[in-house]
């Protein structure tokens, strides 16, 4: 079957099978930040934004994305750039495998709630598993970024 969708702002027409998963489609299009991890819809590695909402691309049929906007980290680099350095400063990425999922879900969190508490950050990112860290580094990185952003904004007022 043939579907049309918008991937990272670019309109695409793709030939897919009925059971093609969205993760496979975006990887075929060169979006290798989206990774296959657990295969049980648990790890968050394959997170993409579907019409701005974070979803597990390993569990969404590509056919379901027809007519919708899909964004991967490749299309969100500018938005991510601001805070990934704060995560790196904490050494929180370690092996880095979980990082794209973490970053894209953090973007979704900050769009939904620009000033989250630590508990709200933990709750929103609970579906992103990291087997290197104890999650504290990522939390510190996001917190430092939010504090920096607050200071920047107040400084610019």
């Amino acid at each position: 079957m043939e579907i049309q969708l918008t991937l990272n702002g670019k309109k695409l027409t793709c030939a897919i099978e009925s059971d093609t998963l969205l993760i496979d489609l975006v990887r075929q299009q060169g979006c290798f930040s989206v990774k296959r991890g657990c295969e049980t819809s648990n790890c968050g590695l394959c997170t993409v934004l579907l019409d701005g909402t974070p979803v597990l691309s390993c569990s969404v049929l590509a056919a379901r994305a027809a007519g919708h906007q899909v964004q991967t980290l490749e299309g969100l680099q500018e938005e991510a750039e601001e805070f990934v350095g704060f995560i790196a400063d904490q050494g929180a990425e370690q092996c880095g495998f979980c990082n794209p999922g973490y970053v894209i879900n953090t973007i979704a969190l900050l769009r939904e709630n620009p000033d989250p508490t630590d508990d709200q950050i933990r709750a929103y990112l609970a579906g992103n598993l990291c087997r290197c860290s104890g999650y504290e580094g990522q939390l510190r990185g996001i917190r430092n970024y939010l504090n920096w952003r607050k200071e920047e904004r107040h400084g610019n007022v």
Binding site: M1, S18, N42, V55, L56, S59, L61, R64, N105, A126
Partner: protein, 263 residues
């Protein structure tokens, strides 16, 4: 691995119902559980174009379409107010935000899964389920409806009204399935308790013995919790033994009752 022969976006409920009558067809909800199965499906019927992804507040109830994602239920202000936050408490432990953006109410209820937090909570909300062919029925009736029934879950209605609700679950680790799930509600002095993840589907208990007729205290809460724990049938699995669940049950029921008193 899930294999799908053809994917159809139904244009009407009738079309979806007709297509779903073949044993080789399947209705897609969030398809999170479905994709875990090693199964070949001839026709996968998607309801995503039928406008069933809305929560509508009506005068006397909330009408929730079958394709509403769990995350939408979790953050809906009206449902939070109606359940005093029990809706969010029941849903927020289910894997992660991305998962709950995909999982649907219809998919969660139609499977009547043993591990279901959703089925456990909705059992104490006096909710009604609308099936396309079999019509409207209480969720308790639906919970016992034959599993091989090939019908469509269209929407769920949750009545408004004075009802205090509490939901608690026990998990071995965050975001895992519950070892035990417990919901208690009180309306007009009548208490309803649902116990899920026994590990079978949620079952409902009411205060048949009048243990709470003089109100809830620590003693009466303990007595009702012990009574429910003795009446419920529990099983063992990798998450916990039947005996462990029985002990947890008495505690969760009592805690739910005590928390209701604080609402």
């Amino acid at each position: 691995m899930l294999k799908i022969g053809s994917y159809v976006r139904a244009k009407s409920l009738e079309e979806a119902y007709t297509l779903s009558q073949k044993r080789s067809s399947v209705i897609l909800g969030g398809m999170l559980w479905l994709k875990m199965q090693n199964r070949s499906v001839q026709t996968a019927v998607d309801l995503c174009d039928l406008g069933l992804d809305k929560i509508e507040e009506q005068e006397d109830c909330f009408s929730i379409g079958a394709m509403v994602p769990l995350r939408a239920l979790e953050i809906h202000p009206g449902l939070q107010a109606l359940t005093q936050g029990a809706m969010a408490e029941a849903l927020k432990h289910i894997v992660g935000v991305q998962f709950r953006n995909v999982a649907t109410l219809g998919g969660s209820l139609y499977g009547r899964f043993g591990f279901s937090d959703v089925l456990t909570l909705f059992q104490v909300l006096d909710a009604k389920v609308e099936l396309y062919h079999h019509g409207v029925m209480s969720i308790r009736e639906f919970a016992e409806f034959p599993r091989n029934t090939r019908d469509l879950l269209v929407r769920v209605t949750v009545p408004k009204g004075e009802r205090r609700v509490c939901y608690l679950s026990q998990r071995n680790t965050a975001t895992d399935f519950p070892v035990l799930a417990c919901a208690v509600s009180e309306a007009g002095g009548h208490y309803t308790c649902a116990v899920g993840a026994r590990p079978g589907p949620a079952v409902v208990f009411t205060d048949e013995e009048g243990l709470l007729k003089n109100g809830v205290s620590r003693e009466s809460g303990e007595a009702f919790g012990a009574w429910v724990a003795n009446r419920a049938v529990f099983g063992s699995n990798m998450r916990g033994s039947a005996e462990y669940r029985r002990k947890i049950c008495a505690v969760l029921v009592r805690r739910c009752l005590m928390q209701l008193e604080e609402v």
